[in-house]
């Protein structure tokens, strides 16, 4: 489904150049579960941002179902990301004063879906992460694990093809982290949503069907 060919990314600041990624190729199939591992600074987040079309590669191409994403207009790219991708970050980026459900339906709101339909879908995905009873609570009143599950519900609400998760359990203790992992893998199994998980937790990576390891911006191992 998503194919990255010979991706390179060079960060420039003034005269300094830093090649964070060097000729990385990855392919993500329809119900894939891919872990990206590596040491800090190895380029994991950079690769994920490129795959998720949040940033443009310096070299290389990314195609989705055969179409070259790098040729998309800004408008089309925004719509494309909104419809095909879901995001989970190490930080939650929740709007603390808004209710849980308001946070969950954000991708649908951005897509321009009406309030009633948004509400139904939001509740549906809150149920999927086991938080339907907390829908009206202010997001800031939840525990860390609950917050991350709200983020999963938010990623799901847009009914994406791929969920990108950058260190999804990095801020959680092992028990709540385990619950979050469990939820993600279940969605991958049951609904066939592809997962791309950036982590330096080897245990988590081991639970994924495939993994690639980066070092200094290059793939050094793949399984």
């Amino acid at each position: 489904m998503l194919k990255a060919i010979e991706l390179s990314k060079t960060y420039k600041s003034g005269t300094d150049e830093y090649r964070a990624l060097n000729g990385v190729s990855v392919e993500i199939a329809d119900d894939d579960c891919l872990a990206i591992v590596g040491k800090s600074g190895s380029g994991k987040s950079t690769l994920m941002h490129l795959l998720a079309c949040l940033d443009a590669p310096t070299e290389g191409r990314i195609t989705f179902d055969g179409e070259d994403v790098t040729t998309f207009s800004n408008h089309r790219l925004n719509r494309f990301r909104n419809e095909k991708f879901g995001f989970i970050f190490q930080q939650f980026y929740l709007n603390g004063r808004d209710s849980v459900i308001e946070n969950v339906v954000l991708p649908l709101k951005i897509r321009g879906i009406g309030a009633a339909e948004r509400r139904d879908k939001g509740l549906e995905y809150l149920r999927a992460v086991g938080l339907a009873d907390k829908a009206q609570k202010a997001a800031k009143d939840l525990s860390g694990g609950e917050k991350q599950r709200v983020c999963i519900a938010r990623a799901l609400a847009g009914e994406p093809k791929i969920i990108f998760a950058d260190e999804p359990t990095g801020n959680l203790d092992s028990v709540t982290g385990g619950m979050v992992e469990e939820t993600l893998f279940r969605l991958n199994r049951e609904q066939g949503i592809a997962l791309v998980i950036v982590t330096h937790d080897d245990e988590l990576a081991a639970k994924c069907a495939r993994r690639i390891e980066l070092r200094d911006g290059e793939v050094v191992a793949a399984r």
């Binding site: 998720a52 800004n74 925004n78 990301r81 995001f87 930080q91 991708p107 951005i110």
Partner: protein, 424 residues
């Protein structure tokens, strides 16, 4: 994002920091309040002039005075240069506004379309009384031929020894205006040589409507005015020399009136109809109004810096949120629009509350003014608030607020999502 959702979101964002929003709105409030008040004052004055002017009618009457031409390059601050008057009696004195009666007649002969000429004789009267009762001070003046005035009772002057009483004098004579018509009043004035008090009996033919301009004098017929003038001025050096006079143009063609005015101008005279005169006052008020509004715009300028400040801080505070929204596919234009809406809403609420406050204060001011110093100015309100003007004020303030928000909104829209998400 749908427009409705954007508006709801913008409102919610503003309410997230109620105190800051309220303070920024307050600044706009002050500007909106001032603008509404100053503009309302100007509109009130304009309304007043309009109603006053309607008390006199005469579209084909031109009021004329001589121009004193300043030589080119000479500013009005310098003393006027004296010019030698030529021996020829027909020449107008270049140093004076005064025009001789004979000169007026000769001038009128150059205008075949002029039906009648009314020199504006200035007379002094002492008192007016009915049935030898109490004497009241009065100013008398004949209306220019062709001019009519609005009446409460009776008819316009149409013969000799007639008077149309001004409203306040008629009121002290009798509450029944109709009953006054046909009665005789006595007027007293000083005349003759040496001056001595003399009286004349005039028949009341009408009572004028109320109004500021209409309460300045009572109208008498031209022949009576002339008679008093002769008694008061015959033999004095300025006898027969006037500063203003009027032409009544035959027919009712505004183009003819216009051409007479233009030709008068070429001959060194300024001619104005009643409408021209009121327009001049109207324009003067307009300039005054713009000047006053400038003060309000200074306040709004200050307020717009408040808006800029509020938005710059909001963009900083919400950098991560913007990053997320952009990652989730919200376009640049929508982000820009969202922040612009927030600034426009600040402007909008400031404008609406400012206008509401101004109307409240204006109503109180009107009530107070009509009680204390505008009693005789009936039908006049100090502040006039017109829906069209109020809507314009709202629109202008929203526009100012939008412009104030452009820079921060643009900055928000240009944020890079990854960097914004990383922002600490």
């Amino acid at each position: 994002m749908k427009i409705k959702d954007l508006i709801v979101t913008a409102n919610r964002n503003l309410l997230r920091n109620k105190l800051r929003t309220a303070l920024t709105v307050m600044a706009v409030f002050v500007g909106a309040f001032t603008l509404t008040m100053t503009n309302g004052l100007g509109d009130g004055l304009k309304d007043y002039i309009e109603t006053q002017v309607k008390n006199y009618e005469g579209n084909n009457v031109i009021f004329i005075h001589k121009k004193i031409e300043l030589p080119e390059g000479q500013s009005k601050n310098e003393p006027a240069e004296y010019k030698e008057q030529k021996e020829n009696e027909q020449e107008f004195d270049p140093n004076s506004f005064a025009v001789g009666l004979d000169q007026i007649d000769r001038l009128a002969r150059d205008f075949p379309e002029v039906k009648s000429v009314s020199p504006d004789f200035q007379i002094r009267s002492e008192y007016i009384t009915l049935d030898d009762g109490k004497k009241y001070q009065v100013q008398l003046n004949a209306l220019a031929r062709g001019v009519t005035q609005k009446l409460e009772a009776g008819r316009q002057i149409d013969g000799d020894n007639q008077i149309v009483l001004q409203n306040d004098i008629a009121k002290v004579f009798s509450a029944d205006f109709q009953g006054l018509i046909g009665r005789e009043v006595t007027i007293g004035f000083k005349g003759g040589n040496p001056p001595a008090m003399q009286t004349l009996r005039l028949t009341v033919v009408g009572v004028a409507t109320k109004g500021f301009m209409a309460s300045a004098f009572s109208a008498i017929d031209a022949a009576t005015e002339r008679k008093i003038y002769e008694l008061q001025r015959a033999g004095s050096p300025d006898y027969g020399r006037l500063t203003t006079f009027s032409f009544e143009v035959a027919g009712n063609d505004p183009q003819v009136v216009e051409s007479v005015k233009q030709r008068l101008d070429k001959k060194g005279f300024t001619g104005e109809t009643i409408v021209d005169q009121s327009k001049r006052t109207y324009n003067a008020i307009g300039v005054f109004q713009i000047g006053m509004n400038m003060f309000a715009f200074v306040a709004l300028l200050a307020a717009s810096f408040g808006i800029i400040n509020t938005l710059v801080i909001a963009v900083m505070e919400r950098t991560k949120e913007i990053g997320l929204q952009k990652a989730l596919g919200m376009g640049q234009a929508k982000v820009f629009f969202l922040f612009s809406l927030e600034s426009i809403l600040i402007g909008f609420w400031g404008a609406v509350s400012g206008i509401a406050g101004a109307i409240l204060v204006g109503k109180i001011g009107n009530a107070w003014a009509s009680k204390y110093f505008l009693e005789s100015f009936e039908g006049y309100s100090l502040f006039a608030f017109k829906p069209a003007a109020l809507l314009t004020i709202v629109a202008i303030i929203c526009l100012i607020a939008f412009l104030a928000g452009v820079l921060p909104a643009f900055r928000a829209s240009r944020l890079n999502p990854i960097e914004a998400l990383r922002y600490e």
